[in-house]
Amino acid sequence: MEVAHEQVSLNHFLIISAILFSIGVFGVISRRNAVLILMSVELMLNAVAVNFVAFAVYTDGELFRGVIFAIFVITIAAAEVGLALGIILRVFRNRATADVDEVSELKW
């Protein structure tokens, strides 16, 4: 099955995904709360998945490898969220804080 798609180009999706990714980078660097940093990482992963799917649909219609990649990105993101929140919970129980600046023993 094929659908005509004249108005929205590949560039549209690449640009929106770049914007979302950059907002995520800003969040990861500027936020100090561990949960908020995790949420910014989710934004970045999402932007990457959009990129994968856009390239798959526009340039790889036969094999759509990008779609498979996006499925794996979503899977790994889910695993990462669960594990990261476990660690954050652990840190919070030991230190009573979720601020990443106050957990800096391994910082050189």
Partner: protein
């Protein structure tokens, strides 16, 4: 038509993303994140990939959002304190974001992609299943092991040990 929907979804996604990184209230930030993730599900439908849109809504809009809200609930020490930026990290974060955006936009606009596919292929669900269980079987199995390890790891890490308050 497709263009109008695309711009509407873009506005929603960007509002959600900006709200996530700038909101002072952690719960509001999580709700903005859900908005952004649902807008991305709309992008998948626009990219003729309704299966991914469904997965996005189920996993991100449902599971991940719930886990994050639970995380917020369990790590709130100073109740209702506004969460602000670190004073020393706000400017570097902004600069990094803007510079990265500039680099990526420059690369995107100056590269000659096949910009307008005359025909966008609609990927059928059966084809995705076929590819996933034949061509990509090993990564699929590895992904399930990763999920299992993450599940057990999360339980072990966050479990209350004996003698702990």
């Amino acid at each position: 038509m497709a263009e109008a929907i695309f711009y509407l979804l873009s506005i929603l996604a960007i509002i959600g993303a900006l709200g996530t990184v700038t909101s002072q209230n952690v719960v509001h930030a999580a709700l903005f994140l859900i908005l952004s993730l649902l807008a991305v599900a709309g992008f998948y439908i626009l990219l003729t990939n309704e299966f991914l849109a469904l997965v996005q809504i189920l996993i991100y809009g449902g599971a991940v959002a719930t886990i994050i809200l639970f995380g917020i609930m369990l790590t709130r020490s100073r109740d209702l304190m506004p969460v602000t930026f670190g004073e020393s990290t706000r400017l570097p974060g902004f600069l990094a974001g803007v510079l990265l955006l500039g680099v990526i936009l420059g690369a995107v606009l100056n590269t000659n992609w096949p910009r307008y596919a005359e025909q966008v292929t609609l990927v059928p669900l059966t084809a995705i299943g076929d590819a996933l269980f034949k061509q990509w079987l090993l990564p699929f199995e590895v992904a399930s092991v990763v999920l299992l390890v993450a599940l057990i790891g999360a339980i072990v890490i966050s479990r209350q040990e004996e003698g702990e308050a």
